[in-house]
Amino acid sequence: MGCAEFQELLVEYAELVGDSRARVDAHLAECSGCREFLEALQTVDAALAAQFGDCETSAEFATAVRRRVGRETAMRRPSFIPEVLDFVGWGAIVALIALLAWWVSPLIPVWSTTDALSLNTALAAGGAFVLVAFVIGLRSLADLKH
């Protein structure tokens, strides 16, 4: 067994037991190169343990996280303004349709009360459909822009 194989074992020196440990120790007693390698390994372990041991966040960490989370929550809080505007808009549409139906009804020649009523209803429904489609289209465009 040469130094290269012994050095592979030396990397796990702390975990060696029994015969393996005895063989490595016997080799170390007579090989200065492998002793230097073991010393270098111990230097590495000590340096990295000192560098990375007991590593914790700074004292302000939790406060900083809570501040960022607070900002995030404030940004995501739902606003009722769009819903209120929607309600006002729909109210205006309904009022407009009612006004239009009321305005159109005297102009239609009256064959019978039932005919006039169904024509007014059809006009109102058609007008409502066009307006609703227009408003939904506008809102979809606005959503796409956002």
């Binding site: 592979e8 230097t43 000192a50």
Partner: protein
């Protein structure tokens, strides 16, 4: 603790759940971020970002994996994003800040033993060796913890650690001779 946090989540008490998990996981998340990024100041920024993502994701956490598995997955993804952003910055920066400068900025002193700057040799190792080495010492030399946090098989962790420590020892031995 995980049971308490899960109970809060089931009752949709997200603020309570977050108040419990922040002190429980903040150091673990920071150490994983530090191991992956290698810069303590950047790691702390990434760890903050992790907790913001956790806060946003709590209502969607279904509990199919353990809470810690979910948190460490978010940590790894956040760190990968930070590393990508960092490498882009590095490419566009003329003056690259040294590790010593980053450590100094964050209050962590670079460690030298017997006049040898082991950290300098560590920086020369492949990234995966650096990550596994840092985490191994951050997690008090526990192979199991390193394997769990990085989600790498135990055999891979042991192999990388073996090769990384050997390469470092060889570099230190050479510098002592030279």
């Amino acid at each position: 603790m995980e049971q308490e946090i899960r109970a809060c989540l089931e009752q949709k008490r997200y603020q309570d759940a977050f108040d419990r998990l922040l002190p429980e996981f903040q150091n673990k998340v920071f150490r994983l971020a530090f191991a992956m990024i290698g810069d303590p100041a950047m790691a702390e920024d990434a760890a903050q970002e992790v907790f913001v993502r956790i806060w946003k994701g709590l209502p969607r956490f279904r509990g199919q994996s353990s809470l810690s598995t979910w948190i460490y997955a978010i940590t790894r993804n956040t760190c990968l994003t930070a590393l990508k952003a960092g490498s882009t910055k590095k490419e566009s920066s003329i003056e690259e800040p040294s590790v010593a400068h980053a450590a100094e900025k964050s209050g962590i002193e670079p460690s030298t033993h017997a006049g040898i700057d082991v950290l300098r040799y560590l920086e020369e190792l492949p990234e995966k060796y650096q990550q596994v080495l840092r985490l191994y010492y951050l997690e008090e030399r526990s192979y199991e913890e390193v394997s769990r946090l990085l989600e790498w098989p135990m055999g891979t962790v042991k192999t990388y650690l073996h090769r990384a420590r050997k390469e470092l020892a060889e570099a230190v031995a050479r510098s002592k001779m030279g």
